[in-house]
Amino acid sequence: MRTSDFINALAADPVPEPIRLGRRVAVALAIGLLGSVTLYCLLLGPRPDVAAASGTMRFWMKFVDSFAFALPTLLLTLRLAYPDAKPSALALWLAAPFLLLAAGVVVELLVVPQSEWMSRLMGATAIHCMITIPMLAAPILAALIVGLRAGAPLHSGLTGAIAGAASAGVAALVYASSCPGDSPLFVATWYPLATLICMGVGALAGRWFLAW
């Protein structure tokens, strides 16, 4: 077929309603977050000693870390939904949560005797954390993928993986008040592992649902 003929068909196709991707992704996030919080309320709830824990710096660092990770990954997800995405400056912001986490780990190693390092790292609930964060992330990731389907990401797997990371970041924020492990050693080990699981699932979902 000649291109000029092909253009006849394209020009005759009705114009769709313009879509604002930013709004789509925001709505998707809100719906996913609602699902995640519902799961939290039904299955988890705050940890029994939450009042005592909330007096400690370690407890609040989990929220700060999670937020510092969730925000740039969410913005990056939205950016990747455009084919002409230039993630450069935003990608640098991703260093923030890791620097925060690393600083926390250094301080923890300085203030805690070496004999306790391993028990702090393992916590009481490592496996629980690895399962719970992906579970709380699932509704967020699903909603983000549905929202992103309207977009035009060139790298569907990567976009899905970053959406997975963002969903893990938001899920960690939801989970933080239930998770009994506060030590930066615990957080720096298990939260990123849980995030990697979400990123893997996100990459697969992206390849399946975001290619166009």
Binding site: M1, T3, I7, E17, P18, A85
Partner: protein
Amino acid sequence: MEAQPIKGLKDDPWSRMMTAAIAGDEGAYRRLLEDIGRSVRAMARGAFSRAGVGDADVEDAVQETLLAIHLKRHTWDPAQPLGPWVYAIARHKVVDALRRRGRRRVEPIENFEEFLAAPEAEDPHALSDARKLLETLAPRQRDIVTSISLDGQSVAATAKRLSMSEVAVRVALHRALKSLGAAWRRSVE
């Protein structure tokens, strides 16, 4: 070559034409697609020749790019210039086309702007695979696409011939174009 995007300005001709097209100006949309097609053709020819691949699939890459742009045009952010959005999609599709021809390592295509200065007209003898992909459509959809593209019939005339409403023809056309996009994608994998 009356229209060339000016970098960084959303008031460039392509962005203006696309804005008009989304507002329903079919003529502006047709001119825009012709224009983009000429630039993508120049880019594809350059990339194909650098990769040592013949010109045979150039028109395919052009049409696939135009279809991709078409199917996602309503998600373009009008606050951003259209040019970079188009280049990104075109680059991606041309690289895909080269991979399909067995080129595993494809040099990245950078200077799209260069091709804007030297748009290339269509070779009247170059035909694309779109015809072959049309075979994958349902008969009614194929009939509608062929009628409007190859035979140059209007939607109204096509609707009359098939005793359908114009809306139904446009809906069927849209579905057909979407499946064509999917068929093209599958042919890459």
